[in-house]
């Protein structure tokens, strides 16, 4: 009883954290105390002051402001990538599961090849091909992940198309798009949401890692991975630079992971859990 309560409180806490980050990202220009691009070389690596609550970086820019503005690329681009992934996966999965036959065959073979490839390598390949740019990183993420969703959705679609109420709808002549949206989507929705929540954490990690390597968001734009990349260069002289962006990223990813775990537990009350 206590555990259940605690768990739901935990998931609410995660939701609140994610919501706070989102709001801060949306209203970044109003919340951030300073301009994230404004350099002040006289005042670099300053410690915590009222003007710069988290100090300044190697160019004298306000770390807190950069952190808040950094939510936009970090969180919003990940959400964008997830939206793209799910859309592509849905379309492919439903096409394969609903029409079967050669459509299914072709899509599933492609999915097999995609899944037998390590995802990090594939992302690098796509970025290498398209050029170093954050847009390409997003495309690469979608390209790498959609196959998982397509396979899962296809399985569910096949399971549910065999069920009575879908057959019934078909026999009374509702059109296929109607059948799909009306009956199938609710069936996969919960599973999809859990998977997507867990994967959002993964995507944030991935995009920031690529930015850290210099392949994603480029230099002056504030992004947490890119900020840590800059912090790397001064790790000997000013190790404090890596604290703020690192902590921010851990909190955000942890919130998504925990939320996903909680939702999965709520759906699947087995004894042995992760």
């Amino acid at each position: 009883m206590i555990k259940q309560f605690f768990q739901s409180r935990l998931s609410i806490a995660c939701l609140v954290i994610i919501l706070l980050f989102t709001l801060a990202g949306i209203f970044a220009p109003y919340i951030a105390p300073n301009d994230p691009y404004e350099t002040d070389l006289m005042n670099k690596f300053s410690s915590y002051t009222r003007e710069h609550p988290l100090g300044t970086d190697q160019l004298g820019r306000c770390v807190l402001s950069r952190l808040i503005h950094g939510i936009r690329p970090t969180l919003f681009l990940s959400l964008l990538a997830m939206a793209g992934t799910i859309t592509l996966g849905l379309v492919m999965g439903i096409l394969a599961g609903y029409f079967r036959g050669w459509v299914d065959e072709v899509i599933m073979r492609v999915v097999d090849v995609m899944l037998s490839f390590p995802s990090q390598i594939m992302i690098l390949a796509v970025v290498a091909l398209l050029g170093i740019d954050i847009r390409n990183v997003i495309l690469a993420n979608i390209f790498v992940k959609w196959a998982w969703y397509a396979r899962m959705i296809r399985t569910t679609v096949i399971q549910y198309t065999g069920k009575n109420f879908v057959l019934f709808s078909k026999s009374i002549g509702s059109g296929s798009p109607y059948i799909l949206t009306r009956h199938l989507l609710p069936c996969i929705a919960s599973e999809l949401v859990v998977l997507a929540t867990l994967d959002t954490g993964w995507t944030i990690l991935n995009i920031s890692t690529l930015s850290f390597l210099g392949l994603g968001v480029q230099a002056p734009t504030p992004e947490w991975g890119a900020m840590l990349n800059e912090a790397k260069n001064v790790v000997t002289s000013n190790p404090g630079q890596m604290v703020a962006p690192g902590v921010a990223i851990v909190i955000l990813i942890a919130a998504f992971n925990m939320l996903g775990d909680c939702m999965r537990d709520a759906m699947d009350p087995r004894e042995v859990r992760n």
């Binding site: 009883m1 555990k3 259940q4």
Partner: protein, 283 residues
């Protein structure tokens, strides 16, 4: 009844299952006793808590999930009786597998799938008897032979999934007998076996009983219980409804459930017996 012959005295045994928020009572205030050379039958429908009570006595329910209260005093030799529910870990191991053995219900799932039968039998023998290492193999083969298993050498090399449920059950029975225990708990030991082998196994168990080993015999089968048990407990929904000899219970079923049980089973038994009496069928 004198308590000199007493082997096991169970009092107020209660088993509760703790799941996240709910607590379910699986065995409710069960009391009974077993004497030397006596067989106690436990009758009851599926899910009535027969296996749970015996597992609780053996102490194999994980304490994290199960809450076991009451007492189960086990009398061994002339020493003070030990309470199996409060016994220390090391002492329990000296009892479990040596002085009390048990035959579990679903033989197919009871052996480790990764080891051949010979290894698992040998480790049991090594753990519970003082058999010299060289003789263990021979003893295992003897156990199989006693249980009417053909080509024991081959069976020892086989993995559990390669043997039938009946064979595994007979091996379990053999292992339960090999340490010459004071008490055998047999949880539906004849369910996975065809009726001819069943007949032989029952004969084997009866012999053991005559040698003075006490036995708790759990079954749905009124006919088998009739042959084996001196006294019977009827369990229903975690509680014991009635205790006494089978004849007493059949003649005077104290409550509705027992009456139903007896009636439905008696018709079956009657049919069965009349079927057996027909010429040419008797084994």
């Amino acid at each position: 009844m004198t308590s000199d012959n007493r082997v096991l005295q169970v009092e107020n045994l209660t088993v509760r299952y703790k799941n996240r928020k709910r607590i379910t009572t699986l065995v409710d205030d069960l009391s009974f006793h077993v004497d030397r050379g006596e067989c106690l039958g436990i009758l009851g429908e599926s899910g009535s808590g027969k296996s749970m009570s015996s597992k609780a006595i053996m102490g194999i329910l994980p304490p994290r999930q199960f809450d076991v209260t009451g007492s189960a005093r086990f009398h061994t030799g002339s020493e003070e009786p030990t309470d199996l529910l409060r016994i220390k870990k090391e002492e329990r191991r000296a009892v479990r597998g040596r002085k009390i053995t048990m035959i579990l219900q679903n033989p197919m799932a009871c052996f480790d799938p990764l080891f051949p039968m010979g290894t698992q039998m040998a480790e049991t023998v090594r753990e519970n008897t003082e058999t010299p290492v060289k003789e263990i193999r021979g003893l295992c083969q003897q156990v199989l032979k006693d249980m009417q298993i053909r080509s024991p050498e081959e069976v020892l090399l086989k993995y559990p999934h390669q043997l039938s449920g009946g064979m595994l059950q007979r091996i379990m029975i053999g292992l339960a007998l090999v340490t010459k225990p004071d008490l055998i708990i047999a949880d539906e030991p004849t369910t996975a076996i065809d009726s001819i082998t069943q007949f032989e196994i029952i004969g084997e168990l009866l012999k053991i009983k005559e040698q003075g080993t006490a036995m708790i015999f759990i079954s749905h089968d009124l006919g088998v219980v009739n042959r084996m048990a001196n006294r019977v407990i009827v369990m229903h929904r975690a509680k014991s409804l009635q205790q006494g000899t089978l004849a007493e219970i059949i003649q005077n079923p104290g409550d509705e459930y027992t009456r139903q049980l007896v009636n439905s089973r008696l018709t079956l038994v009657d049919q069965f017996n009349s079927f057996l009496r027909e010429p040419g069928v008797s084994a």
